[in-house]
């Protein structure tokens, strides 16, 4: 029953592959629409499934309130990605990206990663855990190198393959060790493993894998090049959905398995959080390409997320989920504007955004608001989400980390303001005129913009998440 959304996504993926076989080239625009429709169905299915699911396949998978919310987040991220991909993939963009053929596969492969992510959230066994993580990751390599004629895209794919495979094999080694030490492959019973130096080593290996997924320093190096080289919608997808996979990973390990130990390791994680956000933010300052810029911005966001793991207490779960949702809408909001602008003008450098507020005031405003939300400016949702995460760190006594994070937010504001400055303060292009905005772009951006505003002001959704997940810790098997 609770696998309904998963099955819908898989069915859509195969349907897209199949339909693709019977379509003429000029009819292939249909594929994006079919994918979006399938995702809408999956979204509805995810909403309809009972929130407190249960175990399946003998406890290999388990659905609960947290996976319910993760499904919503994953499907939403994929849906937005599909919508903002359409112009580019269908060749409707004014500035065409060369080598973007094979639309059927593009959407199908994306849906496979989505399936992997959704299963990953539900996995409660080392085997299902690893397999679904690979399902979420491996198709991503293909997506990252989708722009066949672009060397950068190939480079992105290659870098991604190598680094992801290294981290994944390290992780697998760690998982094998843990299995050997605990004698069980059930994730919830791993904590029975006897504490020994070898176990620590194994955990370190696994966490390195999680760190790479989550772009936590020092495992973040792949991100910038991959984000820059990948087709922009895939960059958006990577920075949200793939990062969310990292978040799930951390949930599985830090909370389910590791929560007893966390109090001893808090300082280590706090330091990693501080380093991650500082590296992300300071390196973002010097970027000129907006995609690289967003890559470092998303690295710094991983540091903020880590703050939520410092205290394995009930409020941490809703705070992390809520911030993920906020990060999704803010980041996607920025990327929608980036993709639209690149589609229409081919411009991808920060300096090339000058005067956007004069030609397209509405898009500029919405992009600015999303950027401010990423920077954590009240009363936007980014502020509220960060505030809750900071609060988790503060409750665990890490006041210094709150100070570091808050100062980091200011640093991040500096580079977000660089974009705002280009759009609002610098003069327009001499021959600039209104740049047309396709309807679906403006509606997507408008939806994300509204979400960015409302999630910060209207508490309803947070209260829902809180009510659903606040008992999650208590329900974990001890």
């Amino acid at each position: 029953m609770f696998m309904c959304p998963h099955f819908t996504v898989i069915a859509t993926a195969f349907a897209v592959l199949l339909i693709d076989l019977f379509l003429q080239e000029r009819q292939r625009w249909l594929l994006g629409t079919v994918t979006a429709g399938g995702l809408v169905l999956a979204f509805l299915a995810a909403v309809m499934t009972p929130i407190h699911g249960g175990a399946m396949f003998g406890g290999r998978f388990e659905a609960n309130a947290v996976t319910w919310w993760f499904n919503i987040i994953f499907i939403l991220a994929a849906l937005v990605t599909v919508i903002i991909s359409m112009d580019m993939v269908n060749g409707n963009a004014k500035v065409r990206v060369r080598g973007m053929g094979a639309r059927g596969e593009y959407f199908a492969v994306m849906l496979f990663t989505l399936t992997g992510m959704m299963y990953f959230a539900a996995a409660r066994d080392l085997v299902t855990f690893y397999v679904s993580l690979e399902l979420a990751t491996i198709p991503m390599f293909a997506l990252a190198s989708w722009r066949r004629e672009d060397a950068k895209s190939g480079e992105a794919g290659l870098k991604y393959v190598i680094l992801a495979m290294i981290s994944s094999s390290l992780m697998l080694y760690g998982l094998a060790l843990i299995y050997g030490l605990s004698g069980t492959s059930s994730l919830t019973h791993l904590a029975l493993a006897k504490q020994s130096p070898l176990l620590w080593f194994a955990v370190a290996l696994v966490l390195a894998g999680a760190g790479a997924k989550f772009t936590v320093a020092p495992f973040h190096f792949w991100a910038a090049d991959v984000y820059e080289g990948a087709p922009t919608p895939i960059t958006a997808y990577l920075s949200v959905a793939s990062k969310c996979t990292g978040l799930v990973f951390m949930f599985q390990f830090m909370f389910v398995f590791f929560s007893e130990w966390l109090s001893n390791m808090g300082f280590l994680f706090a330091s990693i959080a501080a380093i991650t956000m500082t590296i992300g933010n300071t390196v973002a300052i010097v970027q000129t390409n907006i995609k690289r810029f967003m890559a470092f911005s998303s690295i710094s966001q991983a540091g903020y997320f880590l703050m939520g793991f410092l205290s394995p207490q009930a409020p941490a779960v809703p705070a992390l989920l809520y911030y993920m949702l906020i990060y999704l809408v803010s980041n996607m909001g920025v990327f929608t504007a980036i993709i639209w602008y690149a589609n229409e003008t081919g411009r991808e450098d920060i300096d090339e955004y000058h005067g956007l507020s004069r030609t397209n005031p509405l898009m500029a405003l919405m992009m600015m608001v999303c950027l401010f939300s990423l920077a954590g400016i009240p009363p936007l949702s980014g502020f509220v989400g960060k505030f809750f995460l900071f609060s988790i760190a503060s409750s665990a006594g890490y006041h210094w980390l709150v100070a570091v994070a808050a100062v980091n937010s200011t640093i991040s504001l500096y580079y977000y303001l660089r974009v705002v400055r280009q759009m609002y303060i610098e003069p327009v292009y001499p021959d600039a005129q209104f740049i047309p905005v396709p309807k679906k772009m403006v509606w997507t951006e408008g939806f994300l913009f509204a979400a960015v505003l409302l999630l910060g002001i209207v508490p309803t959704l947070y209260e829902h998440i809180h009510a659903d997940t606040v008992g999650w810790f208590a329900a974990l098997p001890k």
Binding site: P378, F390, H399, V407, I425
Partner: protein, 506 residues
């Protein structure tokens, strides 16, 4: 929705009205915003009158009170599971600040009458900023407070960056970043109160019921005081102020120097002293010394300036030093002086920056040595400028005198927590600034307005127009009223200061 909420939301509604005006009717915008801010002013006056009646009976009971008594409280649960609420209300200090803000924004929108570049965005941002300022002065939930606090800072970036002059992008960025770093420390404090108190609430009054450990107070107080102090131009973190003010357009300088810098002093008093009395006692003398430097440094800096705006900005640093100095004295006189000085300096500096904008709009120069004899062609502006200048050097009869006297007496009386001799010495040093102020104000004004006309273009210049006369007139009238009849004004704020004082004395 009560009166207090209306005050907060009024500028926001005005902003919505401004945004909905079609571009071709841009001239309407200034009328709308003058009207909207006029309503804000009327609401603020109503609040004062109603507060006066409501609080009149409580003056005697407040003498021994330890908790601030709030009036017109409105509470709505917000993020309920985290104890965050929409909690607004007012006490005497807030009322004074609300009146100040509404006067400044009303006159500020009149003073921006001749802005003609991207008018809609200009007024919209200005009104958004004021929403934040009203919110800070009226909210008593720390989460809400912080939200409004940052909302009041950020529009400044665009306001200075787009409509400013000179090195505007540099100044705008510097200002925004320095102020937000300050607020970052404030944020650490707010979260620490939430968790350390164990109450899981941001309600300022309830947080005030806890006695925090001395150790905690001692490291937290400088975070809060310096965090807010950045906005109050605390030396050596004041450097954003001269650059920011001189680059900002007229109304923004007015609002920023007039109101926004007061958020610093207000926050230090309202949150620093209220929640951390032990920390305040421990650090009081240190911050008194620091603010003494503030006062003198600002005044000495002003002497050397040749640009009218830099001149006023340095003078603001000096005068905002008085506010923080008053807070650091930790006694009745000092606290009263701090609040009075916030009000008086707000009006005075608003007038200053407004006038500079008006003069600059005519002469197209702000360089003092290039101007001369302007008093002959613009008598109204010259007269009001002199009044502002005299208020700033503390001439009896104007509000500056009342405020500065309180601050200095506060310093001179000393308190029970630090050495009297040291406090007296510091006060005497700080008093020297009055002389310095007289030197730079009189010299600067004499150069600009007296003597022969230095440039024949100046002959054709006109005096203030009606919107400008109303704006300056209102400000001058306020200076005079508070200067000549300070009694009622002091009675308004005094009961709200007792709780702060009682907390210091255990």
């Amino acid at each position: 929705m009560g009166l207090v909420s209306w005050i907060i939301i009024m500028p926001f509604l005005t902003m919505l009205a401004v945004v909905s005006v079609p571009d071709r009717h841009w001239r309407m915008i200034r009328w709308i915003s003058a009207f909207g801010t006029g309503i804000s002013l009327a609401l603020a006056v109503t609040l004062t009158v109603r507060f006066w009646h409501a609080a009149a009976g409580d003056a005697t009971t407040m003498i021994a009170a330890k908790a601030t008594k709030l009036y017109f409280v409105e509470r709505i649960p917000w993020f309920e599971s985290l104890g965050i609420q929409y909690f607004v209300g007012t006490d005497g200090i807030s009322v004074a600040m609300v009146i100040l803000t509404s006067i400044i924004i009303f006159t500020g929108s009149l003073a921006s009458w001749y802005v003609d570049n991207r008018v809609k965005e200009f007024y919209a941002l200005l009104l958004l900023l004021v929403t934040g300022v009203f919110g800070v002065f009226l909210s008593f939930d720390l989460f809400l407070f912080f939200m409004f606090y940052e909302l009041a800072v950020l529009p400044m970036y665009l306001l200075i960056g787009i409509w400013g002059t000179g090195p505007k992008e540099y100044s705008a960025m510097k200002l925004t970043l320095m102020l937000l770093v300050g607020s970052a420390f404030v944020l650490v404090g707010f979260l620490a109160f939430y968790h350390v108190s164990g109450l899981k609430t941001f309600d300022l009054i309830r947080l005030g019921e806890i006695a925090y450990a001395d150790g905690f107070q001692r490291w937290m107080f400088p975070m809060i005081f310096v965090g807010f102090g950045v906005l109050g131009a605390l030396y050596p973190l004041h450097t954003w102020s001269p650059d920011g003010h001189s680059s900002a357009p007229t109304a923004v300088s007015m609002l920023h120097a007039g109101v926004l810098m007061k958020l610093g002093g207000y926050g230090a008093l309202r949150i620093g002293i209220y929640l951390l009395p032990e920390g305040a006692k421990w650090w009081g003398i240190f911050f008194m010394a620091l603010t003494t430097i503030n006062i003198l440094y600002g005044a000495l800096g002003a002497i050397r300036q040749t640009d009218l705006k830099y001149f006023t900005a340095y003078s603001s640093v000096s005068h905002c030093g008085f506010v923080l100095f008053g807070v650091a004295t930790l006694n009745m006189m000092g606290f009263k002086g701090a609040v009075l000085q916030m009000f008086s300096h707000g009006i005075m500096t608003g007038l200053f920056f407004g006038l500079i904008g008006m003069v600059y709009g005519r002469t197209h120069t702000r360089v003092i040595p290039e101007m001369g004899g302007l008093g002959k062609v613009m008598p109204w502006l010259a007269t009001t400028f002199y009044i502002a200048g005299l208020a700033s050097l503390g001439l009896p009869g104007l509000s500056g005198f009342v405020a500065e006297t309180h601050v200095f007496l506060g310093g001179f009386f000393g308190n029970d927590f630090s050495s009297h001799l040291l406090m007296k010495t510091l006060t005497i040093i700080a008093t020297m600034s009055i002389v310095v102020t007289a030197v730079y104000v009189l010299r600067g004004l004499a150069q600009v307005f007296q003597g022969p006309i230095t440039d024949h273009h100046f002959d054709e210049l006109t005096d203030a127009t009606w919107p400008e006369r109303i704006a300056t007139g209102v400000l001058v009238a306020t200076l005079l009223v508070v200067g000549l009849l300070p009694g009622p004004f002091i009675n308004l704020i005094e009961p709200s200061i007792y709780p702060l004082l009682n907390r210091l004395h255990g």
